[in-house]
């Protein structure tokens, strides 16, 4: 049931707009893969999904499903099912008939379509809800039915447009678990739009990061965090440490000293910004030898902010500022001297903007 998907320099300019909503976006999604299209609001991520679904016609560029161009194919011929942020359950149909909708419009007898729909209701753990009117469901249940309805259409690619962002955190976590189970059982190809990088990290295999209609980076979740290709990617992924300096002979020189690139990687010579995740920075208040593969930096704590179980601290090293996270219980106070240990494997250098 699943298919591969490829976008080839997809561009979309809406009528009356000067700048394109999508600017030459290309990426590939393998069969059975889950790709998250991540980006702030207005980055064009929903337009990507609507173009794939055939609801918006791209201005230029091509979309391939299993290698064949789907240009000019009507939405109903593309074999994509979409789940929107709002459940959009048809109010004049029962829960079961909503899930049986795809079967019914495909010409299946009502009895067959309903029997099939029942399996998908079971799959989303809503056994016995079939006879209810859709007005008798809670928000989380509605979204489960919407998911079952989309899956019952046997989509070649399942499109999810911020499907869980209207749910509260607990329900959202349930839906993530459910999605994982569905992936194990049915292995659908999924493209999911989200503005929540944590959600992308939990659900997706790879992430396409969009900003202002451009694809900034298409990579695994881990690499997007640890190996951003630009300062914008680092910032959009929540990176807070930016150390301006210069790469000379494979070493980055900045206010914290010189840092060698991790094994197997080379950094471009010339000016560059060293970025590292604040989660990777360890703070030591004792005199310890710098462990292998780490860089030791003498710092002073200049700020401390409580964040529930964690605390965020700002560290100064000369003119350079760094951030780190410590458990809230750690007695680290403003003005205190400490040593920050940065793993070299967590460091990467991006071009100076």
């Amino acid at each position: 049931m699943s298919a591969s998907l490829a976008l080839d320099s997809l561009t979309k300019t809406f009528d009356g707009e000067s700048s394109p909503a999508l600017n030459e976006v290309s990426f590939e999604v393998e069969e059975g893969e889950c790709l998250a299209v991540l980006g702030p609001s207005g980055s064009g991520k929903s337009t990507v999904l609507r173009s794939i679904a055939g609801l918006d016609a791209p201005s230029s560029g091509r979309i391939f499903v299993d290698g064949s161009d789907v240009a000019g194919l009507a939405p109903e011929m593309r074999g994509m099912a979409m789940v929107f942020q709002r459940p959009l359950l048809f109010p004049h149909l029962s829960v079961l008939d909503n899930v049986a909708f795809a079967g019914t419009v495909a010409g299946q007898p009502k009895r067959v379509a309903r029997a099939d729909a029942r399996q998908f209701l079971d799959l989303v753990q809503l056994e016995g809800f079939g006879e209810r009117p859709v007005t008798a469901l809670s928000g989380g249940q509605e979204q489960r039915v919407a998911l079952a309805r989309a899956l019952a259409a046997r989509p070649r690619v399942l499109l999810l447009d911020e499907p869980f962002s209207a749910l509260d955190p607990e329900l959202r976590a349930d839906m993530h678990t459910l999605l994982r189970q569905i992936r194990q059982q049915l292995n659908p190809t999924i493209v999911m739009v989200t503005h929540d990088r944590d959600e992308a990290a939990v659900v997706a295999d790879r992430v396409a990061l969009l900003s202002d209609g451009r694809l900034l980076q298409h990579d695994t979740v881990e690499r997007l965090y640890t190996r951003p290709v630009s300062i914008s990617v680092s910032r959009l992924m929540g990176g807070r440490i930016e150390l301006h300096g210069e790469v000379r002979a494979g070493m980055h020189h900045s206010a914290i000293g010189s840092v060698a690139s991790p094994g197997g990687e080379t950094w471009a010579e010339g000016p560059g910004v060293l970025v590292v995740r604040h989660e990777a920075v360890h703070i030591s208040t004792f005199e310890v030898a710098v462990p292998d593969g780490m860089v030791g930096v003498e710092v002073v704590v200049t700020d401390r902010r409580a964040r529930g179980p964690r605390a965020e601290v700002t560290l100064a090293c000369g003119d350079a500022m760094m951030e780190a996270e410590v458990p809230a219980s750690r007695p680290l106070v403003v003005g205190q001297r400490a040593t920050a240990h940065i793993p070299r494997s967590a460091c990467t250098v991006v071009p100076t903007p």
């Binding site: 609801l55 109903e76 709002r86 048809f90 007005t135 259409a153 209207a166 509260d168």
Partner: protein, 302 residues
């Protein structure tokens, strides 16, 4: 303290919310006033019907008498003898034809206007609403001549003009319906494999059905109750119920016949109104709504 409502019982606002909200709690003085006003309004609507119903069964009712002086069915027999049944049939047919044409036209215009697919939308909606502002007589006098010159048969002319007269009502009603209609439902149906035709029948029409029913009802009333257009354009050859009523009402001593015809003129709209009230609801009422899982909000909460 909120009282628990037993499962399966309908929750009305009175049951648990009204007593908690100062603004919604009925005040004794306000309550008496409301009952008085409601009674007066009911009387205002019902009072004209009382003499009508009495005349229905009266053969003679001289001026000072409170009740008819002679009871009987001469009104009914006289009405039947003067072609009340065919006139009733013609009016019914005219109303249905006008509704059948004006409702889809109004719906399409309203959908296009709501979607912003119309150039100069204010001008277009102004033109569509114009028949309301123009006295029917003025428009019809001019149009009769045009239709005669164009050799349009009287019946066709009547239908064309009545449809135009009904359009403001159907367009307005359907604009309200489409304003509340979410096109995303139709997009969702398309991605699930429904063709545009299937989307129309299985999603679009069911969702706007209550609006369609309301606008068809109004369009029917235009055709059903019309007098001016039918007599002027039809040239008196198409005898509908209003024409029959008018011709009897202009004579003397026909009160019983007029009463019979008037009562029969009320019946079809009344029946339609009752049907509309029964089936014209937006969504099927949820029996489960009062259950423990009833907490439903559009976004957020479970």
């Amino acid at each position: 303290m909120v009282m628990l409502i037993p499962y399966g019982q309908r929750v009305t606002p009175d049951d648990r919310t009204v007593s908690n909200r100062a603004l919604m709690r009925p005040r004794p003085a306000g309550r008496a006033l409301r009952i008085t006003i409601a009674t007066l309004l009911t009387a205002w609507f019902a009072l004209p019907l009382v003499p009508l119903l009495l005349w229905f069964f009266a053969d003679r009712w001289s001026a000072p008498a409170v009740l008819p002086t002679e009871w009987g069915f001469s009104g009914v027999t006289s009405a039947l003898a003067n072609g009340a049944v065919p006139a009733f049939g013609r009016s019914l047919l005219l109303g249905l034809v006008v509704a059948a044409i004006a409702t889809p036209l109004g719906a399409m215009a309203a959908r296009a206007l709501t979607r912003g697919a119309v150039p100069a939308p204010r001008l277009v909606s102004g033109i569509l609403l114009a028949p309301l502002a123009m006295p029917a007589f003025v428009a019809v006098m001019g149009l009769t001549i045009v239709l005669l010159r164009a050799r349009v048969p009287g019946l066709v002319g009547v239908v064309i003009l009545l449809v135009a007269a009904a359009l403001p009502y159907t367009v307005y009603t359907m604009r309200v319906a489409y304003a509340a209609h979410d096109l995303a439902y139709e997009e969702e149906a398309r991605t699930l494999g429904a063709s545009p035709w299937q989307v129309l029948w299985r999603v679009h029409l069911p969702l706007v059905a209550p609006g369609l029913a309301r606008s068809a009802f109004l369009a029917f009333l235009v055709g059903w109750s019309d007098y001016v257009i039918t007599i002027l354009v039809g040239g008196g050859t198409i005898v509908t119920l209003p024409l029959l009523v008018a011709s009897f009402a202009s004579g003397v001593g026909n009160d019983a016949v007029v009463a019979v015809l008037s009562v029969s003129a009320i019946l079809p709209p009344l029946v339609l109104l009752l049907v509309l009230g029964r089936f014209g609801r937006r969504y099927p009422t949820a029996r489960f709504m009062t259950g423990p899982t009833a907490s439903r909000s559009p976004k957020g909460s479970p």
